[in-house]
C-alpha cells in the first residue's frame, strides 16, 4: 500500500541570554562543574523564580520571526516529575499559554516555497547534566535553568527532506536573530521528531513514534527516511506501529528503541504560583520587535533584487557577518555587486580563513573596499590591478586611491593618448591585423595585449579594444561553401 508520512517536529532552542531563565546565575559554557549556579539552580528551599527579561525579548523575537501571534500576558506553569537532573522536582514551562502561537515558516524544497505551520513557541528551562560512571552518577547544574524556547510545528511535513529543510530554516532564523548558537552538534538546538504513517488519501493520523538524538541536520533526513521505511514494512506485513520513543544511531544509520510509551508520566501541570501573570507593555513588545536583526529570507529577496545569483546569495548567507558586511557596502553605493561578492567571498574570506581573523579585524574600511570596486567597474584600473590593490589593502590597510597613485596604476583613458599607442601597435603588427580581418578573432586579444604591454598595463583595455576594432574592423569569418 502507498503511505503518506506525517511529520511534526519539536525543537528546543537554548537561548544565549546572559543569565538563566529564572535565576541570576550566568549562562556560561565550559566552566567548572556547578560553578555557574545560585541557590535557585539547586532548588534550595525558599528560592523563587524571577523571569529573565532578555529571554522574554528573545521569545518575542522568535515568535515574530516565525509569524506568530505574541502573547500579551505571560503565564508560566509547572510540569511535575521526579528526576535527578530536575532539582525542583518540576520544570517551569508555558503549558497553557505559550508566548507565541499560530505561525509558520517558509522553506524551499526543490525550488518551491512551502509554508510549514507552527503551533506554538513557549519559554522554559533546561535541566542539569548527568554523567554516569561505572559506580556513581554525577550531576552538573551549570546548564540547569538555561532558557529554552520550544518550537512546536504542526504535523504538516511529509518527507525527510522537508523535515530537514524545516529544521534548517529554524536553525538559520534563531542564529540570525542572535538568540541562540543554534548548533545541533553541541546541543544548543535539539529536535524531537514525530513520525507516523497513514494510507495515502486518508485523514486519520496513524500511531506516531518519536525520534530523539538527532545531532546533525543530515541525520534528521536519514532518521525520518529510515522511520518511514520501518513503519511501512510493519504496516505492509499487517502489523501495527507501536507508540515508542526511539533514538537515531549514527553508526547503524537506524532508529533504535529507547522506551515504549505504555506508561506515560502524568505531569500534573498547574500554574506556577510564584510568578503572577505578567502583562507585557506594548512598548516593550514594539522595542523587542523593532530592534530585531534582519531575517535570512529578507536578505534573500533584497540580494536577488541586487542581482546576485541564488548560489552567491546562499554562500553569503552562510555567514551572517558577511551578509551584513555585504549589505553595508551596497548601501555605500556599489556599482557592481558581483565584483564585491568576488572580493569578499574569494579574496577577503580566503585571507580571513588563512589568518583566522574576523571581518572586524580587517585593516581597511568598507568605504575603501567600495572605492576599489567602483574604480574597477569604471575602468580606472583593471581587474588584475584591483586584486593587487586589494592585497595591499589587506596587508597594510592603505586606501585604494593612494595605492593606485603610488603604484602608478591609473589607467590611460584619454582617447588621444590611447589612439597613439594603438596606431603604433597596428603599424608594427600588420600580420595580426590581417589575421583579424580574415576572421581570426583571437588576434584582437593579442593586439589589445600588445597595447597593454606597451603602456605598462595602464591603457584602458576596453578603450583600446574599441579603438582597434574601429580602425581595422570588421572581422569577417570565411563563409562555408
Amino acid at each position: 500500500m502507498e503511505y503518506e508520512p506525517v511529520i511534526g517536529i519539536e525543537i528546543h532552542v537554548e537561548l544565549k541570554t546572559k543569565s538563566k531563565m529564572f535565576s541570576s546565575a550566568p549562562c556560561t559554557f565550559g566552566k567548572d562543574p556547578n560553578s555557574q549556579t545560585v541557590p535557585l539552580d539547586l532548588a534550595f528551599p525558599g528560592t523563587m523564580p524571577v523571569v529573565n527579561e532578555e529571554a522574554v525579548v528573545f521569545g518575542i523575537r522568535v515568535s515574530t520571526a516565525l509569524n506568530m501571534k505574541v502573547a500579551r500576558t505571560l503565564y508560566f506553569d509547572r510540569k511535575n516529575y521526579f528526576y535527578p537532573d530536575l532539582p525542583k522536582g518540576y520544570q517551569i514551562t508555558q503549558q497553557f499559554h505559550p508566548i507565541g502561537r499560530d505561525g509558520f515558516v517558509e522553506i524551499n524544497v526543490d525550488g518551491k516555497t512551502e509554508k510549514i505551520g507552527i503551533e506554538q513557541a513557549h519559554l522554559e528551562e533546561d535541566t542539569a547534566k548527568q554523567i554516569h560512571l561505572s559506580d556513581i552518577s554525577l550531576l552538573n547544574f551549570n546548564r540547569c535553568g538555561t532558557p529554552l524556547i520550544e518550537i512546536v510545528s504542526l504535523p504538516e511535513m511529509h518527507s525527510g527532506l522537508e523535515a530537514m529543510k524545516y529544521v534548517e530554516a529554524i536553525r538559520e532564523i534563531v542564529a540570525y536573530l542572535g538568540v541562540s548558537d543554534g548548533k545541533m552538534e553541541n546541543g544548543s538546538l535539539r529536535c524531537d521528531i514525530n513520525v507516523s504513517l497513514r494510507p495515502k488519501g486518508t485523514i486519520k493520523l496513524g500511531t506516531k513514534c518519536e525520534c530523539k538524538n538527532l545531532n546533525t541536520i543530515q541525520n534528521i533526513r536519514s532518521a525520518v527516511d529510515y522511520e518511514v521505511k520501518r513503519q511501512s514494512e510493519i504496516l505492509d506485513a499487517g502489523g501495527q506501529v507501536e507508540q515508542e520513543t526511539r533514538r537515531y544511531d549514527e553508526g547503524l544509520k537506524q532508529t533504535v528503541l529507547m522506551r515504549k510509551k505504555t506508561d506515560a508520566i502524568d505531569y500534573k501541570y498547574f500554574r506556577e504560583p510564584n510568578i503572577v501573570p505578567i502583562d507585557l507593555d506594548e512598548g516593550f513588545i514594539y522595542d523587542a520587535i523593532h530592534s530585531m536583526n534582519k531575517l535570512p529570507n529578507a536578505y534573500r529577496s533584497e540580494l536577488k533584487a541586487d542581482g546576485l545569483s541564488d548560489y552567491e546569495i546562499e554562500e553569503l548567507l552562510k555567514n551572517q557577518d558577511f551578509v551584513v558586511y555585504f549589505e553595508d557596502c551596497l548601501a555605500l553605493g556599489i556599482k557592481n555587486s558581483s565584483t564585491l561578492w568576488n572580493f569578499l567571498m574569494v579574496d577577503i574570506l580566503g585571507y580571513l580563513n588563512k589568518s583566522q581573523k574576523t571581518l572586524d579585524e580587517l585593516k581597511f574600511s568598507k568605504e575603501n573596499l567600495v572605492q576599489l570596486v567602483n574604480d574597477l567597474t569604471s575602468g580606472k584600473i583593471n581587474s588584475k590591478q584591483a586584486k593587487e590593490v586589494l592585497a595591499i589593502m589587506i596587508e597594510e590597510g592603505k586606501n585604494p586611491t593612494d595605492i593606485i597613485k603610488e603604484k602608478g596604476m591609473e589607467q590611460i583613458s584619454d582617447t588621444g593618448e590611447v589612439e597613439k599607442l594603438v596606431d603604433e601597435i597596428l603599424k608594427n603588427n600588420q600580420q595580426s591585423v590581417a589575421d583579424y580581418q580574415h576572421g581570426k578573432d583571437h588576434a584582437l586579444g593579442y593586439l589589445v595585449g600588445q597595447v597593454m604591454k606597451m603602456s605598462h598595463g595602464k591603457a584602458n583595455p576596453n578603450l583600446s579594444k574599441e579603438l582597434i576594432v574601429k580602425k581595422i574592423g570588421p572581422c569577417i569569418k570565411p563563409t562555408n561553401k
Binding site: 534550595f44 528551599p45 525558599g46 524571577v50 521526579f82 525542583k88 522536582g89
Partner: protein, 486 residues
C-alpha cells in the same frame, strides 16, 4: 529568668536609647529565657552569633526603633549558616547558604535573631504537634495546644521570651496560634512582604507573618519588612508606608462588617458576648457596624478548597526534598535514582505529610484535575469575588479568631473531618484573597486567651493596624505574657 524580654519593643527601645541597657544585656536576657523554655519552642539556637552581633552595636538612635532588639524566627525561614529544618526530618542537617529577605531586612534594621522556633512539619498543620521535635505546649495550660503551624513562635512570645517572633501564615498559621496565646498575630497582604527564603507550603496562599504583644510593635515591624524584593516577583512595587503612623495617628476607616452566618453559629457564650460587646463599643466610638450575608455554601467550601489547593501546591513545592543535594542521604544502598529518592522521602516525611502529598497529587492527576484542582480554583474565585463584594461597601471584616478555647492534646485526632465546621476555617478567607489580617486578644475564658480578627482590603495594611489599635484600646489587653495574665 527574664527581666526584660517580656517588655514591648517601645519600652526596650527607650532603655537602649538612654543607654540604661545594652543590646548584649537584652541578648543575655533572651538566652536565659530560651534556656528556661518548658513548652518545646525551639529548634536551632544562635546564642554565640547573637551575642557577637549585639556586641557590635555601640549606638542606637531615637529613630532606630528595632535596633538591638532580640527576636525569634520560625524554622521555615532560610538563615545563612544556621540549620533550618522546618521541623522535618527530611531537612535534618540542612544549613542554608542564604538569608531569607525578611531575615536580612531585620538584620539591617539591627535586630538580633537568637533562636529558630518549632513548627508543624513543613508548616502543614494547625496543632503544633507534628514537628520532628514533638508537641509544643500552650504556656497558659500545658495540657492544651498553642496551635500551629507557627507554634514555637507563639508559645515563646506568650512566655515572654522575646518581643517579636516571625511566623508564616498559609491558612491561619499565625493568626490562630496568636489567638490561643493572647498575642498580636499579623499576616500582611500577599505581596506586601517578600517571601524569598520562606520555605514554601502553598505559595499562592503563603504570607510572611509575625507575633508581637501589642499593635504598635507590629506596625513598626511591618514597616521594616514591607517592600518590593527583586528575588520575589510576586512582591509588590507599591510604595512602602510607615504603618506606625496609622497606629499613632488613629487612622481608621469607618465601616465594620460581620458575617451573619458566623455570628449565628457561635456557640461559646464568652466568645459571643465579648464579640457583641466589642462591636457595640466600636459602634459607640462612631463606627458603623453592618451585618452581611456572605453565602454559607461558600463558607462550607473553605475547607475542601483550602485542602486541595494547599496540598496540590505543597506536593510540588516539596518535590525538591529528594535527598540528593541536601538533607539526609539514603543509607540502604539504592540501585536506582527512584529507589534513592523513595528511601529519602519515605524516611524523611511523617505520615501526615505523606497523606497531604497523596491528596495533592491525586487532585492534580489529569483524570482528576478537572473535578478536583480546577474545581477548587473556581471555588476560590467565587470565595474571593464574594469577599471583594463585601469589601466594596465595607472596610473591615471583624470576627473572632477562634470559636472555642484551644483543644487539649488528649482531644486531638488525626482523622479527617468529614463535616468540617466553617468556623474552624474562617481565617483562610484572608489567604484566599491575600488580605491583610490581624489577630489580637479579645477576652479570656477559663484562664485561656481568645482572639479577635480584623481583616481588610488588600494593601490597606495600615488601616487594619489602625483599627487594631482602636480595639486594643477598648479591650485593654496588650503586652500579655503568661505570668502577667495569671
Amino acid at each position: 529568668m527574664t527581666k526584660l524580654m517580656n517588655k514591648p519593643i517601645s519600652e526596650l527601645h527607650e532603655l537602649l536609647v538612654k543607654k540604661e541597657i545594652t543590646p548584649v544585656d537584652l541578648v543575655n536576657d533572651c538566652i536565659a529565657g530560651v534556656k528556661s523554655d518548658d513548652c518545646n519552642c525551639f529548634e536551632a539556637l544562635n546564642f554565640d552569633g547573637a551575642l557577637k552581633e549585639a556586641g557590635k552595636i555601640t549606638e542606637i538612635k531615637e529613630e532606630e526603633y528595632l535596633k538591638g532588639i532580640p527576636y525569634f524566627a520560625k524554622d521555615n525561614y532560610s538563615t545563612k549558616g544556621i540549620e533550618t529544618t522546618a521541623s522535618s526530618n527530611i531537612l535534618n542537617g540542612y544549613v542554608p547558604v542564604f538569608d531569607a529577605t525578611v531575615i536580612s531586612k531585620l538584620n539591617r534594621a539591627g535586630m538580633i535573631m537568637v533562636a529558630k522556633t518549632t513548627m508543624d512539619e513543613l508548616a502543614m498543620g494547625g496543632t503544633g504537634t507534628t514537628g520532628h521535635k514533638g508537641s509544643t505546649l500552650n504556656p497558659y495550660d500545658h495540657s492544651r495546644i498553642i496551635g500551629g503551624s507557627s507554634c514555637g513562635s507563639a508559645s515563646s512570645l506568650a512566655l515572654g521570651l522575646a518581643p517579636l517572633a516571625l511566623g508564616s501564615d498559609t491558612g491561619d498559621s499565625v493568626r490562630k496560634p496568636a489567638s490561643n496565646g493572647g498575642l498580636v498575630g499579623y499576616k500582611a497582604t500577599w505581596g506586601r512582604i517578600s517571601r524569598y527564603g520562606l520555605f514554601p507550603f502553598a505559595p499562592s496562599l503563603d504570607a510572611v507573618g509575625f507575633f508581637t504583644r501589642n499593635v504598635l510593635d507590629a506596625s513598626y515591624v511591618l514597616s521594616a519588612l514591607s517592600g518590593h524584593d527583586r528575588n520575589d516577583m510576586s512582591s509588590s512595587y507599591r510604595k512602602r508606608e510607615k504603618y506606625e503612623n496609622y497606629v499613632l495617628g488613629h487612622k481608621t476607616l469607618k465601616k465594620i462588617g460581620y458575617f451573619k452566618a458566623v455570628m449565628d453559629s457561635i456557640s461559646d457564650k464568652t466568645i459571643k458576648d465579648s464579640y457583641v460587646d466589642l462591636l457595640n463599643k466600636l459602634k459607640a466610638k462612631g463606627y458603623e457596624v453592618i451585618a452581611y450575608d456572605y453565602p454559607v455554601e461558600l463558607l462550607d467550601a473553605l475547607y475542601p478548597t483550602y485542602m486541595i489547593i494547599s496540598c496540590a501546591e505543597a506536593t510540588s513545592n516539596d518535590a525538591n526534598l529528594d535527598g540528593i543535594r541536601f538533607g539526609p542521604t539514603a543509607k540502604d544502598n539504592p540501585k536506582t535514582y527512584s529507589e534513592y529518592m523513595t528511601e529519602c522521602r519515605t524516611k524523611g516525611f511523617s505520615d501526615l505529610i505523606k497523606r497531604r502529598f497523596v491528596i495533592g497529587s491525586f487532585s492534580l492527576l489529569s483524570q482528576n484535575q478537572e473535578e478536583m484542582f480546577s474545581r477548587a480554583q473556581k471555588a476560590r474565585r467565587l470565595i474571593v469575588d464574594n469577599l471583594n463584594r463585601f469589601f466594596d461597601s465595607i472596610d473591615y471584616l471583624v470576627q473572632p479568631a477562634s470559636f472555642a478555647i484551644p483543644k487539649k492534646f488528649s482531644e486531638l485526632s488525626t482523622a479527617w473531618s468529614t463535616h468540617p465546621d466553617f468556623l474552624d476555617n474562617i481565617l483562610t478567607l484572608g489567604n484566599f484573597g491575600g488580605n491583610p489580617s490581624l489577630t489580637l486578644p479579645m477576652a479570656f475564658e477559663s484562664g485561656m486567651p481568645l482572639g479577635i480578627n480584623v481583616t481588610g482590603r488588600i494593601f490597606e495594611d495600615g488601616y487594619v493596624m489602625g483599627l487594631g489599635q482602636e480595639i486594643e484600646n477598648i479591650t485593654g489587653l496588650k503586652n500579655l505574657t503568661v505570668k502577667e495574665a495569671k
